[in-house]
Symmetry: C2
Subunit: 415 residues, 2 copies
């Protein structure tokens, strides 16, 4: 048996214990984990500095360095995150449905933990703590497999929270880190069908594709967002401008930011001239279709590749469309089914957009930036699912559970 398989077997044993632990005890553990992080601030920052100096030595990008960096306030944020999770409602044990059959059998559909959840993620050490907190609260054992660039940070964080969790009465091995960060360790995790119940990759498109292609363990895909805002004819110009600027610029590096703007031809001249200044003043680089470029001189040409690209940057592709149908068709062809918005004042056209666009979140007259568990009022989130199976859109605690049927009888047999 390989080291990784042994580790997963320990997680499976821990999961059996976690499944039946009361909420009170899980919450106590979460608070203890939060306190431990703050108490061990110095050693966390020290180990983080190891990663940072190694990263500087390897010349990694400033953006990546920033994502790797822990500070006193970031550690406190992680601790507060755990405390917030402790306040959320425990989904385990919820009877989501139930009925009595004609033969007297009582059927209940009860929410139970998934079991063992594997998280494969890149860079950000805060994922280590956030994911562990959500998995524990929902009664799951978690196997964390971060990237090599954060190995010292992840290792010290898991040591602290796993130790605190065990001391607070949770099963040993409720939280485990895969210390080996080579490709093989990730691939091995992906093949542990039957030991790991679900894998959630968090990171770039390459990581997610690798997991989807190689995993025999069920996967929840997260994150890739090639999001669209469509400005319909007759839309309120000021509202459309606000929404487009917000969706593009409020935080361009995240999955729910707008990447392509679609504009109905009847409003194109007026709207593009209105939105040009606030976008360019926010530093947005524009790329347009031929019609866009006739209206806005000096805008670079958008190519087929632009329609496909999740820039995660201050770049916006723009296309003037002939019709609502063309807008929906473009989204269906190039989108990643994450978040799309229509700005319109037409009831019928808004309804059609909502029904025909097949994305995890579809907006009428609001910014795509709201696709987020916290913004939706669902509490902390473990990611945003862009697949259709199991969960779609922001995933919080209930999405980390499954159900089982419990049937109470008095000796019934089938005839």
């Amino acid at each position: 048996m390989s080291d990784i398989e042994e580790l997963a077997r320990r997680s499976k044993a821990a999961a059996a214990g976690l499944a039946t632990i009361n909420t009170e005890q899980k919450d106590k553990a979460l608070l203890a984990m939060a306190d431990a992080l703050e108490q061990k601030m110095a050693v966390i920052l020290e180990q983080n500095e190891e990663d940072l100096s190694a990263g500087r030595g390897q010349g990694i990008s400033p953006a990546l360095l920033d994502r790797l960096t822990l500070s006193e306030s970031r550690v406190r944020e992680m601790a507060d995150g755990l405390r917030e999770v402790a306040t959320l409602r425990d989904p385990v044990g919820e009877i989501v449905d139930g009925w009595k059959l004609p033969n007297g059998l009582v059927v209940e559909k009860v929410r139970v933990p998934l079991g063992v959840i594997g998280i494969i993620y890149e860079a950000r050490p805060n994922v280590t703590v956030d994911a562990a907190g959500l998995c524990i609260k929902s009664g799951n054992a978690v196997i964390l497999r971060g990237s090599s660039s954060a190995i010292n940070s992840n290792s010290v964080l898991v040591g602290i929270i796993a130790g605190a969790a065990e001391k607070a009465g949770l099963p040993k091995d409720a939280v485990q880190l895969v210390e080996s960060t080579d490709r093989e360790s990730a691939r091995e995790l992906m093949r542990l069908h039957g030991l790991i119940d679900v894998l959630i990759p968090r990171g770039g498109e390459g990581l997610i594709r690798t997991v989807v292609e190689n995993s025999t363990v069920p996967v929840i895909e997260t994150g890739v967002g090639n999001c669209h805002v469509y400005v319909d004819k007759g839309a309120d110009i000021a509202m459309a401008t606000d929404i487009v600027v917000n969706a593009k610029t409020q935080r361009p590096g995240v999955c729910n930011a707008c990447e392509t703007l679609l504009v109905h031809r009847d409003i194109a001249e007026e709207f593009l001239n209105a939105v040009y200044k606030p976008l360019t003043e926010s530093g947005v680089i524009l790329r347009g279709c031929p019609v866009t470029r006739k209206i806005l001189n000096g805008v670079a040409e958008a190519t087929e590749e632009d329609w496909c690209t999740e820039y995660l940057d201050l770049i916006l592709a723009m296309k003037v469309v002939e019709s609502l149908e063309e807008a929906i068709g473009h989204i269906s062809r190039y989108g990643s089914s994450h978040s799309e918005a229509i700005v319109t004042n037409d009831y019928t056209r808004g309804k059609r957009f909502v029904e025909e666009v097949d994305s995890s979140a579809v907006y009428v007259n609001a910014s795509t930036r709201f696709t987020d568990g916290g913004q939706f009022g669902m509490g902390a989130e473990i990611g945003i699912s862009t697949q259709k199976l199991h969960a779609r859109g922001p995933m919080s605690l209930p999405e980390l559970t499954t159900t089982k049927f419990v049937i109470y009888g008095t000796g019934q047999v089938r005839r």
Copy 2:
């Protein structure tokens, strides 16, 4: 582009149309499909005879031949199955949750079709019609890939129902059959991530394992059932006997039949002596642990392999356990997480069994044979999920859907 990929693209186009069609129209199509099957009875039976004579020529087993065989009454049953699906509630459009955020945004979680569902199945031609009916009612396009032994039957059935569906106004290609039944066609289906939204294999363990190992498309595993009945100390002997005999013998060839009997040592002598006669009189071959064999002379020895085996036959493995814990541990180690029952009159021990056994259906004082969409009162079923992601236990129409978030605003942007 390969033929299979082209076929899947046509399904995806059909799915876009199906997603927004009203229930009335879908029901009309289902009834038309049912009528068409009955009208074309002769040609169906003729094509089925082609499969049967080919099968006889290849010397396939009588059991398989029986599963392949269509008769007038079986075709009528398929037609009536479609009519029954037409009476079920359409899950599409259900608003499963909804709320208003402090900023005025209205968030709705709406049930929508999965999109394109692939079914890979063996032998039984009735699956062709049943699966197509459930997929259409839930607004999904379906790609059917049956086995070579049933190709003539499947081909004529799909021709009839797809034609009737299109004539009744459903999108062309809502129901498609993969005519090529070589391994390559199945493997190609499994790699169409992004075109097919979910694959459901229906058949033996080998088929299901092949799909799990090779699919990049999300899979819902169905079917394998190594089910247990545990007779606790203090159980009612007559009730326990009824339940064990029913769970083993009422229909031994199906996934919710009992394969291993666990008996608490304090009741072993009395219960095993009571259950021996009705079991053996029903033709059940017994295999036991050493303690069982001391109580019941002449019972063959059960090996490690017996604990792992889904017999699907009139064979029962029997083990005397020291404790409730040992019973739960045995189920956890050898079971397939399908259906398990405890027979007990002890409140605390019943509660522990229900909470600690991690299966899709857990029974107190009832036969495992009830794990079935129809028996549970859920309507027709497309299969029984033994995985935790998305759906667990019997799957009916709601399990063939996903949700999307629809957000109605008045110009909200994120600050």
